[in-house]
């Protein structure tokens, strides 16, 4: 009886939870045990703790669901732009070829990543591929430098490759993406970095659930000439009559710059699409997990509530029968 009264009191004075219950909650690592064995095998059941936990999990579920819907709407907006820009870089590839295997002395890896987090593993894959390219292209005469777009890649690459970073650009998506902005950016990069080959690393948007890390290669004019002379894919380049300027070299130089800005534009758009898609799926699985956890907590809550009621009843009945008999 006394224990029941104590327990009832414990529940009424819920804010002043007994010290033993608090330590029990704090000591358990992941999933707090709600039943505490007292000195005489009595159970203090802190339904309050479970209730608090359920409230916070429910809030998390709501927030992640909202984030998923926001990401979905942003994705729709960017997707049309991306598809329109895809046709732009294909003629360049048809004319100048995409030669990832070109052997050059000065490589520049342009890594495109997102500024905000909570978007799954796309940034880590981009960084992994950039590091792989770096390793592949470092040797006695060759060197690789980084140009970083986006906060997340910056955080990861600054840690171990600080000396190889040439340029860092962040907050790309503050204004909606358009070609003028990206071409100014491309101009900056071309002015400040000497290169023989530019490799742009980004996540291509295949579908809402699949993002493929890709590398687009843009070669500088000297390398293009070299490859054209050696035949192979670029051998046809010489057969083109080049007009509209003083020299063929000047036109090819302009063409290479235009190619770079178009490929950058496409890459930045595709990466933005992938970011939104990855965020959508990450938030979706997160809200689903929150829902599962909520179900489990509700069951535990009901079980412990019923158990405490049952124990109280038993004690009352046994106390009453002891009095009679």
């Amino acid at each position: 009886m006394a224990m029941a009264a104590l327990r009832r009191e414990g529940r009424r004075l819920a804010p002043l939870i007994s010290p033993r219950t608090i330590t029990a909650v704090r000591s358990s690592p992941l999933y707090p045990t709600l039943e505490d064995e007292g000195p005489l095998g009595v159970r203090h059941i802190s339904t309050q703790v479970v209730r608090n936990r359920m409230k916070s999990v429910k809030n998390i579920q709501k927030i992640t669901k909202a984030m998923k819907m926001v990401a979905a709407s942003k994705l729709r907006a960017i997707q049309t732009k991306t598809e329109n820009s895809r046709g732009l870089w294909q003629p360049f590839t048809a004319l100048l070829g995409d030669l990832p295997s070109a052997d050059v002395k000065k490589n520049v890896v342009v890594t495109i990543s997102s500024d905000k987090g909570l978007c799954g593993g796309i940034n880590s894959t981009s960084v992994k591929i950039s590091k792989g390219l770096h390793k592949l292209n470092s040797g006695p005469e060759k060197e690789t430098k980084y140009v970083i777009l986006g906060e997340k890649a910056k955080a990861q690459l600054v840690r171990d490759s600080k000396k190889d970073i040439e340029l860092i650009i962040t907050e790309l998506q503050k204004n909606p993406l358009n070609y003028t902005q990206v071409s100014v950016l491309a101009d900056e990069i071309l002015k400040n970095v000497e290169y023989d080959a530019l490799r742009i690393v980004f996540n291509k948007f295949q579908s809402v659930v699949s993002f493929v890390p890709t590398v687009s290669t843009v070669l500088s004019t000297e390398i293009v000439e070299r490859e054209a002379e050696s035949g192979g894919k670029l051998g046809d380049l010489d057969s083109y009559e080049v007009e509209g300027g003083e020299t063929k070299g000047e036109i090819l130089q302009n063409l290479a710059e235009f190619q770079f800005s178009c490929t950058m534009f496409n890459a930045v758009l595709e990466n933005a699409c992938s970011e939104q898609g990855a965020r959508m799926s990450a938030m979706d699985s997160s809200s689903r997990n929150a829902g599962d956890m909520l179900d489990r907590l509700t069951l535990t809550y009901n079980r412990t509530r019923q158990a405490s009621i049952t124990t109280e009843l038993i004690e009352i009945i046994s106390g009453a029968s002891a009095l009679e008999g």
Partner: protein, 133 residues
């Protein structure tokens, strides 16, 4: 024999059709391209492109880019393109006046260059409308 013409800008595909002949304005003058032309790759200046389909000439204002022709397939990649029929005459006149005013009060090299560019673009668009008629 027709040419397959494709005009692309960073934001959209402006034209994708078959034409009989085109007149392109490059940095070193205008060139006419008929079917079975030799392969060419040229830079395009801000100017107008004239297309002939079925004895009718269409004008499109182009804002600088590149063109490539191979085996009766022409691909034009420009920063921006507007069909003559899509341009509003009054709006273009106003833009031209604003561009001229900006050029007059531009100071500093960058502003002058930008104002010049805007003026050329406005002039091209005016020309595009005028040559239709």
């Amino acid at each position: 024999m027709t040419l397959n013409l494709c005009i692309l800008t960073p934001n959209r595909i402006v034209l994708d059709s078959e034409v009989k002949e085109i007149i392109l304005s490059t940095n070193s003058g205008k060139i006419g391209v008929l079917p079975n032309h030799a392969p060419i790759a040229t830079a395009i200046d801000t100017g107008i492109l004239r297309i002939r389909l079925n004895d009718q000439w269409l004008t499109i204002a182009l804002m600088g880019g590149f063109a490539r022709m191979d085996n009766n397939e022409i691909t034009i990649l420009v920063n921006d393109a507007e069909k003559g029929s899509d341009i509003d005459p009054q709006e273009v006149q106003q833009a031209l006046e604003i561009a001229e005013a900006n050029l007059r009060k531009a100071e500093g090299k960058i502003q002058i260059i930008e104002a010049n560019l805007a003026l050329r673009q406005a002039r091209t668009r005016v020309e595009a409308i005028n040559t239709i008629s």
